[in-house]
Symmetry: C2
Subunit: 282 residues, 2 copies
């Protein structure tokens, strides 16, 4: 089902490249233009089928497109959209794939001229890997995408945004940007901070004793520090709130342990197991 005549994807890395492949595979876009900051990356995106053409110039890249997707690191959305905003086609829809939403929506919405629309999005899909060479048309299939319209977002823009993510196989949920940030603080940003703190806690003597459990548990600490700095810094409130809740949970476990209260300790561990088994098995 063709949703778009021409889609511009700004940032043809793992996510942008995978979206290009997925939109093509679904027949949802007739033509895809990639915008990048290195010609070699653009060439690889075109060679791999993630885009039909590429340009280094965001303004040139968005001309003639009815959908523009911001798929770079969160910190680059604002300058890139500012460069391209004056060249957006009348009626064009701009969406993003950023991991935080309140600040992104607040910053980008006023940059979009009248008659063009912005809808914040967070497809919860990804990989440790980076770059268009790992792009995968099935990256989004079966995963959840959060779409964060505001009270001012036209229903038509929301509907077309939802249809786009559904076209690549995602389950879409809608909520306000602040609600997204609070919840992602709990399930994504806090775990990242915790994984980094766990790594920093290991002393040199402990390093040789780490096993497969430790490796699994700390995997996300090996993600790109600059990317995560931006994610955390654009959701300070959500992350601090999640950290406070986490410290309470940790404190309850620690108090039971320190008091020798093995009944409470087991109850808390059992509650965690039951909740995780239910969440993972859903």
């Amino acid at each position: 089902m063709t949703l778009w005549n021409q889609v511009t994807i700004i940032g043809t890395g793992l996510i942008g490249g995978s979206l290009g492949l997925a939109l093509k595979q679904a027949g949802a876009a007739q033509r895809i233009v990639g915008v990048g900051h290195r010609q070699t990356t653009l060439d690889r995106a075109v060679a791999g089928g993630a885009a039909d053409a590429g340009t280094l110039d965001p303004a040139e890249g968005v001309r003639g497109s009815d959908l523009v997707v911001l798929a770079t690191a969160v910190g680059l959305f604002e300058p890139l959209l500012a460069q391209a905003a004056g060249d957006l086609d009348d009626g064009a829809l701009v969406i993003d794939v950023g991991s935080t939403k309140a600040q992104v929506v607040r910053t980008l919405t006023p940059l979009v001229p009248e008659g063009r629309f912005f809808v914040g999005c967070h497809p919860i899909a990804g990989s440790e890997k980076r770059g268009v060479d790992y792009a995968d048309a099935d990256l989004f299939a079966g995963a959840t995408c959060v779409v964060t319209p505001t009270d001012d977002t036209p229903a038509e823009a929301v509907a077309r945004t939802v249809a786009t993510w559904e076209a690549v196989g995602m389950h879409v949920v809608q909520m306000a940007p602040a609600a997204h940030d609070r919840l992602l603080g709990e399930v994504s940003h806090l775990p990242h901070v915790a994984a980094a703190a766990l790594v920093l806690t290991v002393t040199p003597d402990g390093e040789p004793l780490t096993g497969t459990g430790w490796t699994d548990l700390t995997r996300i600490a090996s993600a790109d520090p600059a990317l995560w700095r931006d994610i955390l810094a654009t959701n300070t409130e959500g992350v601090v709130r999640a950290l406070e809740a986490f410290e309470q949970s940790l404190g309850a476990l620690r108090a039971a342990l320190a008091a020798g209260d093995t009944a409470t300790l087991q109850r808390l561990l059992a509650e965690a197991k039951e909740r995780r088994d239910r969440i993972v098995g859903r």
Copy 2:
């Protein structure tokens, strides 16, 4: 290389069953006797080749063996060894596979009669799976085993213990029981507490937004609560000490975030990534 004429493995679950298979495969034991608390489990251990014979009676099980391995949950070591101690052969070596060492060594050492020897061990190998049906002769290959002799342990007993773990492919390191507990507190027990606390922090609205990163990071929270209650409760000091260090690491990340100090935030995240990449790649 035959190290043992007869080995008794008390507790033929995943670890005990795997050790039986591995000792046989290495030719390190001529005969293996399994001791369990359910006949069906023993029957499956024998049918699967992890033991040559099985008994429900620990005292009967250890007779005629020159090596006895305690491979049940940590909390059962003391009562089981108490039942069997009087029937240990002269010169028999008793080892365990428990995840904590100071309390285990302190409790079990006086139970072993003169002329028999106890050496604490912790093979850092395992799986989420439980039970002899998942036993794997290669479970230990390439992993680390910590052996924790005391000042009173005869060198001969230590040497035979080390040879046993090396026979099944493990890299053996020796340290005092308290050092083991402090380091395992950092790399295993703390991560388990953190994973449980992360699960308990997620609100019902956040549950549908968990992704593969969250699933990986919290995997160990789905382990057996009773088993982990025992592990944590027998290493209170090590776990509380690790929790204190963890809270300091968390606090440093949180302070940088709350202060908007993105340079420090990135430095901490980069330090965690560098350390993890080095540890995992070692």
